[in-house]
Symmetry: C2
Subunit: 514 residues, 2 copies
């Protein structure tokens, strides 16, 4: 058994070869123009039907053979320049190697005793991110960067956990205002009974990420207490409607605790008016939480960072490293304006997360965690602000270019212009133009749903689809094609090819449907 824990060089040949081939962007397994194998999902599931743990060990080489034959060829080539449907794209080559090092070092940043330098590296990384958004003074960072009694943020597995952390802090802050420091012990009902309120609630636009309603369930207030505010014609939260709904909630004896601003919606990439939201939050003394999981990347670009104006007034900000920062899955971050704020969710034990220690697990939703700061910190240094700026600006230009292609094309309709590197559009056959009634709208939604599925199943390229209510005044729900332009390897010719493929599929479908 010991052999498995030390490095036997000759045995590593197949592993080394697998690593090398996968490093070359999957070209060995999936041709560069393919995004996925052609096998239907139901059939693919059949490969993975054996539910027994094998009794006997298997040679490492044999397992690698198995993976190369049955698993890897049927995953998704998310690094393909024509995979432009989700927020997952190419990964920098050095992060592959550094991830291996991270696993080899096997640190656990829940506490200092299992991480030492990695704890400080994580705190430094969070301070760097904090400084980008909040721009506090040098002495502020000197004081808090390694303070045992405060934290500038937390690194966690993703934006979902970061959103939950932010709302958990908002809820506990309100509970503490009612119950004092024992709030976390007494629970929500005690705080509600004492305050005389029916429930607590928070506000977010109809474009908010689904993790927010999940958080409303998890935290005990219930999904209905996430009050969904309509967006205006520009897909931004309607401030008047928000003000009205806050008053309505108060009249219903609900206690508002937070406003969530979205900085780059998942579906369309739009920014809420963050400064205006900060003003409303201040007026009503509410926690202001900004979900910048997607749009946070714009902070690196001198040309575009103004869109994040208002963030610096937020109590908490979510940023996802595995989105616009090109890090592997698992790099969510929550930044906190007030470094003492996270004490409302603090934990202490004797054997882990000891009081007064450097232990990062003291103020966190998660427990054991890998030393991801190795990746975050390295990426911040290797790209530098300028490197990320180049990537952001390139993606914005490409999105703008694609929007123009679509607008010029007689068979497509641009639905949402890109405010970040996301846009939505639909295939709209020339013959159906001018028939502007509800029936056509439904037929178009159906057509685009079928088109997206057929394109996905052919495996040559990938865009996603979503449905949302059109902004006022129309209000109808439509299905659209959704494109995320985040892969630096995607070229204008790839986009032209994708439109050609969609026209071909679309025309075929129209012929079938008629």
């Amino acid at each position: 058994m010991e052999r498995v824990f030390t490095v036997p060089d000759p045995e590593r040949n197949k592993l080394a070869s697998l690593e090398k081939q996968l490093g070359r962007n999957l070209d060995h397994f999936l041709s560069a123009s393919k995004v996925a194998g052609e096998i239907p999902l139901g059939q693919l599931a059949e490969f993975f039907k054996d539910s027994k743990v094998p009794d006997e060990p298997r040679f490492v080489q044999d397992q690698i053979d198995y993976l190369m034959k049955h698993v890897i060829p049927y995953c998704v080539n998310t690094g393909s320049p024509k995979f432009i449907g989700h927020m997952t794209s190419a990964i920098p080559y050095f992060l592959q190697s550094l991830s291996k090092c991270m696993v080899a070092l096997h640190q656990n940043v829940v506490k200092i005793e299992t991480s030492r330098s990695f704890t400080f590296l994580e705190r430094q990384t969070l301070a760097m991110m904090h400084r980008l958004f909040y721009q506090e003074s040098e002495s502020f960072y000197d004081k808090h960067i390694h303070s045992r009694s405060s934290t500038l943020g937390v690194q966690c597995s993703g934006g979902t956990i970061a959103n939950m952390l932010g709302l958990w802090m908002a809820r506990n802050t309100w509970m503490e205002s009612i119950l004092g420091h024992e709030a976390a012990g007494d629970g929500l009902i005690e705080a509600l009974l004492k305050s005389g309120k029916r429930n607590i609630c928070f506000f977010v636009s109809q474009r908010g990420h689904y993790s927010l309603s999940k958080a409303a369930d998890l935290l005990g207030l219930g999904k209905k207490q996430m009050r969904v505010i309509p967006v205006d014609a520009k897909h931004k939260i309607n401030i008047e409607a928000l003000q009205h709904d806050i008053e309505k909630a108060v009249a219903e004896n609900l206690q508002p605790i937070a406003i969530v601003g979205v900085a780059g919606t998942t579906e369309t990439g739009h920014f809420d008016p963050l400064e205006a939201l900060a003003g409303v939050a201040q007026q009503h003394q509410l926690h202001f939480h900004v979900d910048a999981a997607w749009g946070g990347g714009l902070i690196f670009s001198n040309q575009y960072k103004h869109r994040l104006k208002g963030c610096e007034q937020a109590d908490t900000i979510v940023v996802d490293g595995h989105k616009q920062m090109y890090l592997p899955m698992g790099v969510g971050m929550l930044l906190m304006k007030n470094p003492a704020h996270a004490n409302v969710i603090a934990q202490e034990t004797q054997y882990i997360v000891r009081a007064g220690s450097f232990d990062l697990g003291r103020r966190h939703l998660e427990g054991s965690r890998p030393g991801m700061a190795l990746l975050t910190s390295s990426a911040l240094h290797i790209f530098g602000r300028q490197g990320y700026e180049l990537l952001v600006n390139h993606n914005m230009d490409l999105a703008q270019h694609f929007a123009e292609l679509i607008e010029r094309h007689p068979e497509f309709e641009l639905i949402t212009k890109p405010e970040t590197n996301i846009l939505t559009y639909r295939y709209y056959p020339s013959a159906w133009r001018g028939l502007n009634d509800v029936a056509v709208s439904e037929r178009l939604s159906n057509l685009n749903r079928l088109l997206q599925k057929q394109q996905r199943e052919s495996g040559k390229s990938f865009v996603s689809r979503t449905s949302f209510r059109y902004p006022e005044p129309s209000g109808a729900s439509i299905t659209v094609l959704r494109v995320v332009l985040a892969n630096p390897l995607t070229k204008p010719e790839h986009l032209a090819e994708i439109l050609s493929e969609q026209v071909e599929i679309g025309r075929g479908l129209v012929a079938e449907l008629n």
Copy 2:
């Protein structure tokens, strides 16, 4: 910028060299007998004080140089055979390479469109783990392994999240019983008002992991509604006290919703009487949740798996792959007896986690996640049940051996015998024996606290420490040294050396204290 996303072979030299050296168990950076650098933490923090994101990019080579000089030498050699204080130990070499492949493939298992085969691989892995614990029929697994309408479990970032998921399910199941299917929308207070109950509560022994009380806070019931039951002289939950407390809770108008059984406590490695707990849970119709994050590994051993008897009656079971299964950080699992159970926490959106899809994100606390099943599945195949059995049995034998060494030694006292591969003991100078009063107990606790700190700071080896109340009848709180024997590279001679080092430190401290 594109260069960074493709693989430039010459530039990889330093990366490749770093990978190779780290693969050799950190020997290049930390001599094999060292567990950590000698620099004090306060001084180490000074290396990580710069909070500015550098404006200009840095060459990959320069970043590697920086890491090798300033970061890696100051982390913790968790793979050292003399690092026996926490649940983090050596990592199999093939998992380093496979982790790199996982990052290169960059799948996101939140949905099928960004993972395809990886979604099925994860479901298969969960079915394998489910079958180990629940041993349902072949047809049961055929039906559920890839069912869109159910799930046998979830893979998540760790045991903390898995515990939260299990208790979230328990809470929502009770809420649904009161409010019907809209429970997740209406929230806890509506369910409490309708049921007339003051609050809900669950039960766990005083040795339960701190993530459980964190979950009580997070889920809105409050930490006090985690009712802490004393343990007996064998560190197992006192069933009589539990029965009594359930009655007491009901008399206080609290609604019991769950009992948590601990299968391998974090501090001492003990198992609660799971079958008896299952009986109590059934009697009161409570959700039975087993936290087997540590002890779950015993399932692989024919010699020891009987200790998990009763698990098969649990509604939910937590297992941590990064503990006894030797996987990298980030492999928590929650297994569910009833495959439809997780529907009480289901989410749906148009753009992700679509209703009726294979999307793994539909019933989960987390969102975007890496394709960790590549590692879990490969480890299950490469070790096989027999391989894991060898490791489990070896660790149990070594723990037994260490316990005997301690018991035979005139200057140590064994506090808890190993029921799994964890034991606790304390340094007890011969001269202090026979003075059995409270003052000696306090002096011993202080002495062992100082001893553990000095040993940790010297960096030659590492054991952890904890404090707990001694089981009845004494009831006093004592500080003990805590050892986790999970590294297959740890030999009896390492253990003898550690005791010698502790005797030397202990004698020095006694001389100073006198």
